[in-house]
Symmetry: C2
Subunit: 581 residues, 2 copies
Amino acid sequence: MISIEEKTMTAYAKSFEQELNLRPVPTCSVFLSDGSLKPASFQETPIQLSASKSDLFDKSFPKLSIRSKNVVLEAVPSFVESTNKRIAVLFSGGPAPGGHNIVAGIRRICGELNTVFGIKSGPKGLMAKDLFEISLSEVDEILNTGGFDFLGSDRTKIKSDSQYKRVKDCVKEFNLDAIIVIGGDDSNTNVAFMAEFLADEGCSVIGVPKTIDGDLQIDNYLPISFGFDTATKVYSELVGNILKDSASSQKYWHFVKMMGRSASHVALEVALKTHPHIALISEEIAEKEMSLDQIVSQIAESILYRAGKGKNFGVVVIPEGLIEFIPEFRALIDELNSVLGKYKVEIAALPGKSRESFVQTKLRVSSSQLLKTLPEAIKNKLLYERDSHGNLQVSQIPTEELLVSMVAKKISESKSADGFEFEEKQFTLNENELKTMQSFKFASIHHFFGYEGRCGAPSPFDAAFTYNLGLLAGSLALSDKTGYMAAISNLTDGGYLTAIPLISLLSEEMRDGEPRLVIEKALVKMESPAFKSFKDNRISWAKQDGFISPGPIQFWGPLSKTLPELVVLNEDYKTSSFSLK
Amino acid sequence: MISIEEKTMTAYAKSFEQELNLRPVPTCSVFLSDGSLKPASFQETPIQLSASKSDLFDKSFPKLSIRSKNVVLEAVPSFVESTNKRIAVLFSGGPAPGGHNIVAGIRRICGELNTVFGIKSGPKGLMAKDLFEISLSEVDEILNTGGFDFLGSDRTKIKSDSQYKRVKDCVKEFNLDAIIVIGGDDSNTNVAFMAEFLADEGCSVIGVPKTIDGDLQIDNYLPISFGFDTATKVYSELVGNILKDSASSQKYWHFVKMMGRSASHVALEVALKTHPHIALISEEIAEKEMSLDQIVSQIAESILYRAGKGKNFGVVVIPEGLIEFIPEFRALIDELNSVLGKYKVEIAALPGKSRESFVQTKLRVSSSQLLKTLPEAIKNKLLYERDSHGNLQVSQIPTEELLVSMVAKKISESKSADGFEFEEKQFTLNENELKTMQSFKFASIHHFFGYEGRCGAPSPFDAAFTYNLGLLAGSLALSDKTGYMAAISNLTDGGYLTAIPLISLLSEEMRDGEPRLVIEKALVKMESPAFKSFKDNRISWAKQDGFISPGPIQFWGPLSKTLPELVVLNEDYKTSSFSLK
């Protein structure tokens, strides 16, 4: 946790943060019942969401099921003021742009008559009772700034009885009426369990949907999680610049991996904004059951086609989660996890190189063949680098380097193959172009963008979205609602503010071999307008250099109101500018 | 080369490029003699620069020496219009933001009565006679956009007689009156030679100072080359975001390498803008003759001190050229180049591992010891990966990974050392803090930023600077001046526009074992105000998290006029906002 006082700022940068602090953030009318800021109250809508039908569910949520009845609440203006409430807020998991505005919204909606505590360093700080009172003047200084550094964050999952007991102790010691958790799908799952656990303590627990991955979405109520817009705009700035660079220097293929642990929303959004020559969407690969070799061939085809046209450059966008969506790769990983566990002792006794041969004999033929095709460095990672549970850390696999290496090999094979033909019908080369293609030398550079985007100053959309999510979450807490997630839809039309019963989002999934109730990640849907738009255009992007450099986020001027492209497309908005008021 | 027509743009991005096109760019008054755009003319100033005293110089520039007399010219308003001139422009080397505005400035100052040709793909295109006529409407569409993709670029050096002959053929075929070369120090050296070569052909050659590295500077006349401002602002945005991320997540040290092949201006500027915990400046390391071990120890000290204070995070900024500025490393590389060349045959005959031992016996003791301390991967690069001339490609050494690995080792040694003491007197820890330090686990992530910044849309400063450099270069060409570089100083006070005789910038240097006349790279000076400001503050940055996230480049609003910090400091400007008018 970095205190505000500690910062020594130059005139230059001070003015940037100060200017951001001064940028007006819109307040939705539901919080302005009499013209000044007032917490909203809540009324039931006619919408009852379905709940998971399982023993596990009934056992887990006896209290919340009865209380919320799975009914969606909507925020309405109120003239009643809550007083003397004590509300605490924490960040959970990786940072996302806009977190500070949520804290600002909560603090301001609670006003002078209630107390707001910041919990330092996430769930860990909650258990360690590391709380401090947040003043109204403090939030003026964090308004519109990036990062989670005002409070800090942490990834601890509150699971064990002793952890829950420490939470209860903290609630009692600080006499808390509510805890607001700003986090992703897992953290919001935890909110549901904590809300159930604290239901009889008079302490509400409220969730706010955070994730730059964009995989926390709820049909009709939450088109996107906060942070996605800013992060994808930062990545799009960089990919746009690299696209320009590739066309200016005319000698490199850039392979760019994008953060997004599971879903490919980030890669899709960046593709829609920048029109790269090639972009992979994991969900499509899973749907089509593509093999690694097919993916590699498809990339190589585009590269070779362009080489024939004299264009020895381009950009390939790769989602971080790709590998786990390739069915044969997923199978290989599962088999390796099982084989390496089962024969741990035998394998450890073997000398270096014979380990691989031993493991090979224990794999199914298809997995064994796939393993053989992988570059040495990747093979070593798969065989020898495991986490403390003996599992492979899939996120540690440098997918971008794997693809570069396999694509290079495929290109050199294809060039020397007799009678090479493109699978893609739109790729045709005449004889001269085929010769040009054959003399092409593949040169590549790879990048990984993730940390660069998680702490940018929130885009005007994320700033407005999170500030109002904060006002909403604060209002829920002041109204003693528990087990809800704050949500805003109708983003181009003033905003529709609701509270979603978290238990209605849970479904049963196997995790670490156990059935668990979790919030399912929203994946890219093949039938979504955003994916279709990408699919309809990608061949022309590969062929014609229709790329775009969308530039950096603008906080002032004519370009400062844009929404994510995939939100505009999927929600069928008539404008790409947000309007929250 | 990407034609404008080929681009298929979405409404979203089209508006970005269109809005950029519409952003007004200031025109210096010297080009507005009667209120409308007119080429400037030139008069001699009293300033005569000194020329290199060497036989090589006298031999190389008999014509230019007489013509320019090494006198600086200044641009003055003119009422005469040139007509029927035929001027060609090319990009040379890596792209830098603002290149398109130079082309726009040249095209517009030449107006309807002269012809401007774009040369495709740099010097290669000049020799291949790949020219096309640029229309006035075309430059409206590239105004303020990033990249060199309007023309493309290339790194070919024009050296041989046959290459010079092809240039002359092109000049004759297109009946060119002038060639304008937009390039870095090497390209501008080439401009001088080409100007001399074409002196009797009636074809002028003019240079425009490009390089994101910022190492093309001329005292009193050129505070900075174009592209530096935009590139460092992009890198500073990213480093600022990562600083926020490190303080938000509180678990990683990020090692960030910055492009800048030789000088450390980029790293220094980014440090001045973001106040990272640690930043290395190659020139200081050379000046102090620091060893690699000393550098590693210094980094480890800051990390350990912060660990004692419970701050297990931070950012280290590393200049790309570092290794060649470490005297012992420079010596090792030189010795390896010589040994590997001399014993090529013997080494090739040896089996894998014994090669290293063989090479070790041929090195001086100090070089041999340094080699032994290096991580395997780096050692392998030094020993086995050479370019076609048998030389090491120093830029291929992943300095950031080298430092991460050596710092990790140093940290674990220091933690377990009895009676560990900090060299830096300002780092003191009490007993509890020392225990905290000892339980610290070092976790790191590394990044390299380079391609991300070379093709950003030019910052408002770079856009204004380059547009006026274009107007100036065009005016020089129309005035039949040859062998000059366009330069602008007084950046906060309207701009002072001059033409610097390129031969006055040349000095003799050994390159590839031969004496050559080259433009010396401007390095970071230890006595410069910018370096001193960094030096005075860095310990407090390491201790107190005084970091700054300066955000992305703003094209509109209150933050759109800033100059590079090091220019403001070194030029002793009273404001950080540029003013060209």
